[in-house]
Symmetry: C2
Amino acid sequence: MKHLIFLAVGMLMFANTFAQQALWGGETIVSPEIHENNTVTFRIRAPKAVKVEVVGDFLESPGVAQLKEGENGVWEYTTPKPLASELYSYAFFVDDLRMNDPANMLINRDVSTVSNIFIVPGDPGDLYSVNNIPHGTVAHRWYDSPTLKEQRRITIYTPPGYENNEQKYPVFYLLHGSGGDEEAWITLGRTVQIMDNLIAQGKAKPMIVVMPNGHTQNVAAVGASSRNYRPAMGGGPREAVASMEDSFGDIIKFVEGNYRVKKDKENRAIAGLSMGGMHSAAISAQYPKTFNYIGVFSAPPIASMMARSESERSKYAEEFVKKLELQQKNGFKLYWIACGDTDFLYQGVKDSLKKMDEIGFNYTYRESGEGHIWKNWRIYLSEFVPMLFK
Amino acid sequence: MKHLIFLAVGMLMFANTFAQQALWGGETIVSPEIHENNTVTFRIRAPKAVKVEVVGDFLESPGVAQLKEGENGVWEYTTPKPLASELYSYAFFVDDLRMNDPANMLINRDVSTVSNIFIVPGDPGDLYSVNNIPHGTVAHRWYDSPTLKEQRRITIYTPPGYENNEQKYPVFYLLHGSGGDEEAWITLGRTVQIMDNLIAQGKAKPMIVVMPNGHTQNVAAVGASSRNYRPAMGGGPREAVASMEDSFGDIIKFVEGNYRVKKDKENRAIAGLSMGGMHSAAISAQYPKTFNYIGVFSAPPIASMMARSESERSKYAEEFVKKLELQQKNGFKLYWIACGDTDFLYQGVKDSLKKMDEIGFNYTYRESGEGHIWKNWRIYLSEFVPMLFK
C-alpha cells in the first residue's frame, strides 16, 4: 500500500519521453506462461500480422509452431504436451520477421543473435535457476597478458563465503567455444546458478571458476570491447598476436597472483566446450604437471585447429599423442570426454578415443543424446563439477 | 587466415539445430550505421512489411521516422542531420509491432522494456564508450542485510589498480530510481565507462562505487532474483520488511567490512536519481556525520515517498527541514541538486530549494535542459564525480 503513491509518481515520471513510449507502450500480456502441468503458452499482440510462428529448442523438428489469433490481436500457442524440465530458447516470427518476445525480459545473446529464454522447473531446470540459497560473486575483471601485450577481460566466479574467510580454494578454468566469449558460460551456460546450486547441495566443493575470452584476436565481448566489432563464429577484429594455448600462462599467473587459491596440480581443473574443449586438451598437454582434471566437451581431444591439410592433421595428431603419453606419465586424476551422439564432431571424438586407446590413455567417456548444443554443455558442466577436487 | 578453417568448422557445428536457425538465419546488414559526419542510417530487412518506423530519443518530437523500402526488402532511414554526440536508444515498429534491431546486439533493459542503443562519438559520447584505457572491476555480489533479514544483490565498481596495491579508497554510494535495480546505473547509466574514463583523464579520484538495489521489497534484478517477478515502476513482488533508509546501515557495514576503504565522512559520498535522489537526501539526513558529498538528481530533496495526504506531506517537510538544519550544523562539503527544466518534478525541486533557502541551507543547484531521462542522469554523474573527495 505504502508504495502505491510512489508508483503513481513513477508512472508520471515518463510522460512525453521516448522512455515513456518504451516503458508504457510495452506489453502487459504474460508470455511465456508455464502452467502447473509444464505445458507452456506463448503470446504476442500482433493485430496486423497474417502469420505468427514460434521457433525454439522446445519443439521437435522441424521446430516451428503456428500461433492462432484470438481477441484483441493476441496470438497464442500452447504446447500440446508438457515440456521436460530444461532451459529453452525461442523467438517469434511475425510474417517471417524474427523478433523477440516483448513480454519476456529474459534474454541470451548467442554469437550475434539475441533470443528469449525460459526455464521449465524440475530436474535439471531447478539447477539452472536462481534459488534462495547463498550466492557466489561474479566479477568482470581485466588481466594483463604480457604475451598478448594487452589487458583482457575475464569473468571470475568466487563461491559463497570466499570473501569472509582465510581458506584457499581450488581453481576451475572453464573455456567457451568458437561462437562465445568471456560471458558465454555465465549466460548460455548458467554457470553461476549451477555452481551456487551444486555447492548449496553439497555436491560440489567450493571453487573459483575462471572464464577467460578464448579468442586472442579480441580482448572482450562485444559491448565491453574498445574495438567495434560484430561477433562471428571463430572470427575477430584482427589477427591474434599469440594463441590461447601460448598465452594461457598469463591467465594462471593472474589468478594465482590475485586470488586466495591453492597453487598445485591437485587443485587445478580445466574444461571447455567445442573450441574450448580442444583448448583444454591442448593446454593441459602443453603445461605439464599443471592440471589434475581435464574436461573435453563436444570436441575431439586430438584435433588441430590450425591444420590446413590431411598431412598437417596427421603430423599434429602424431605429435599430440606423444604429448598425451607424457601427460599420462606425469599423472592426472580425471580426463573426462563427453559428446552427444548426433554431434557433427561425434566421429572425430570417436577417432580421438581410438588413438587414445592405442596408447592406453586413461580417459573417461560420457556419451549423451543430441548434438552440439548448450543443453548438453550445461549437463556436462553439472556432471563434471561434482567430480573435481575430491 | 589460420582462423578460417576453424571458422568453417564452427559454421558446420550448428547445422540442423535451433541454434543454427538463430545464428545463421540472422541479419548480415549493418544497422545502425554511424557515418563519418554523424548522420545515422537504420536498416531492417522486412520484405512483407507495409510500414516500418523507428522511434528513439535521437528524434525530435513526435519521435517517429518512416523507413523506406529498398532492394531485397531492406527498409532504411537516414537522419537528415548529423546527430549530436550522445548515447541513444531506439526500436523499430514494423506494421505497428515494436521490435528490436536484429542487426544490433547492444541492448539495454529499462524497467520491462528492452531497447537497442548506439553511441555517436564526441563529447559526451566518448565518455560513455569503452576506450583502450585501464579498466576497473565490476562485481555482482550478495550482502547480508540483518535489517531486511535476507541476502541482497549489489553491484560494486572498484577502480583500476584496486586489487594491486594497499591503498584505501573513498566510497561513492549511487542509487537508482523507481524503475531501476542494482543493474540500472551500469547499463543505462554507463557508470563503468564514465568512471574508467574520468579516472584515466585524471578528472576523478579513484573511488569505489556501490550500487545497491533500492527496492527493499525485492532482493535482486529480474533474472538474478529467486522471486519470479515482472519489473514494474515502483513495484515489487511483496511488501518490504523495512525501508531503504532504515536498512542502509547494512550496506555501509558490508562495504566497510569487505573493501579497503576510508571509513570517515570525508570519504563517503551518496547520490541518486529520482527515487534514489530522495533516498540520498533522506539517508544523508538520517545518518548524521556520515556523508560529506550528497547528490540529488531530478528529485526534490524535501519530499516524502510515503505521505498519503497534504497534511502528511507538510508534516514530513517540517520535520525534514529540522534534519537539514542539523545536517548543515554537522557539516558537509557538497550538497548538489540537479534537475532538468522540463522535468515533471521541476516545480517540486524548486519548492524544496525555496524551503532550503529559508533556513540558509548551503546547497549547489545545477539546472539542465530536458527532463526526467537517463541522458540527464549520465550528465549529472559525469559532473558530480569530479567534485568528490578533493
